[in-house]
């Protein structure tokens, strides 16, 4: 069956003997929970890291602009903090996802690749569009202060929400909608609000999501429907 494995141990095969129905039910429940947890690409740890990105990354940008009476943009160091945290979070998320799908092939892997392409296209598209209003004369304050920290995020979350809805992944759908709501609402509060409220709101949303996901992964599959 596998070139590296022999069948010499077949004589020790466990046939179970008299398996009690209660024991069988316990095996079904425990195995299903364990399998779901191992195959699940979303992880509470990755969500907590995402929350840290929003709190400290967006927080750094907000901190660097908090005393500006006239908008001059965030300090270089704060942008660096934000991008380093985003990169670290992407690396962790990618590793968690690869570990969950190791050895799995077929539809699930194709779906993940398609999801990655959709989310990337949404994010890059929204980021590229940022240049258009600036080109048309819209102020730095609006383009980089309000649009920059919110609209690409809304596009990413919308792509994620569509994927989550299609796969009936309710916790993911909930956090994506929460991020869209927070980021959309924060645009009414100028550059400081866009960074501060988005950072704080999305951090809270992701922490709640991490808690929900922790409970969700411990539920038997029948309760997750």
């Amino acid at each position: 069956m596998n070139g590296t494995h022999g069948t010499g141990e077949a004589g020790t095969v466990d046939e179970g003997g008299e398996l009690d129905p209660r024991e069988a039910a316990l095996i079904v429940k425990q195995t299903a929970i364990q399998a779901r947890r191992q195959f699940e690409p979303a992880s509470p740890l990755a969500a907590v890291l995402g929350a840290a990105v929003f709190l400290f990354g967006y927080g750094a940008v907000w901190w660097s602009m908090r005393d500006q009476h006239v908008y001059t943009g965030p300090a270089g160091w704060s942008i660096a903090v934000l991008y380093v945290l985003i990169a670290a979070s992407a690396v962790v998320g990618s590793r968690v996802s690869r570990r969950a799908t190791a050895g799995v092939s077929g539809r699930a892997r194709r779906q993940m690749q398609a999801q990655g392409a959709a989310v990337a296209a949404a994010g890059v598209g929204a980021w590229v569009v940022e240049g258009a209003p600036r080109y048309l004369g819209v102020s730095f304050k609006i383009v980089y202060g309000v649009y920059g920290p919110t609209v690409p995020l809304i596009a990413l979350a919308a792509a994620g929400a569509g994927y989550a809805a299609a796969r009936e992944k309710w916790p993911e759908l909930g956090v994506a909608i929460a991020i869209i709501a927070v980021a959309s609402g924060s645009t009414f509060f100028g550059p400081l609000g866009a960074c501060g409220l988005t950072g704080l709101g999305c951090c809270i949303a992701l922490l709640v999501y991490a808690a929900v996901l922790t409970v969700w992964l411990r539920l038997p599959p029948s309760a997750q429907q």
Binding site: T4, E9, I27, T31, R107
Partner: protein, 99 residues
């Protein structure tokens, strides 16, 4: 209802765990032999024997790609296997409700 109504091929701890694990994947997805073995903590020989029995019953299919040390065996739960597991779980619930 008695335990005799439960599919005897599935009503074995290792085979039950194999089917439940594969059923956690989407229909049509395959899982490598190595990952399945690691998840269930079974010896290769033990796992192979159980897989053969389940394959003979049409509950799963196995496919080997490559040769020698680079060979990779993947396992897929069939519709028949998923359906048999659902029937087994329903029968198990009915049995436990009656106790």
């Amino acid at each position: 209802m008695t335990a005799d109504t439960l599919d005897p091929l599935i009503h074995v701890p290792s085979r039950l765990r194999i089917l439940v694990t594969l059923a956690a994947l989407n229909h049509g997805d395959t899982l490598s032999f190595t990952r399945l073995q690691n998840m269930l903590d079974l010896t290769p020989g033990n796992l192979i024997t159980h897989l053969r029995k389940l394959e003979d019953a049409g509950y799963l299919t196995t496919e080997k790609t490559g040769n020698g040390v680079a060979s990779l065996t993947s396992v897929t739960l069939t519709r028949q296997g998923r359906s048999a597991l659902e029937v087994y779980i329903k029968a198990l619930r009915a049995l436990l409700d009656g106790l």
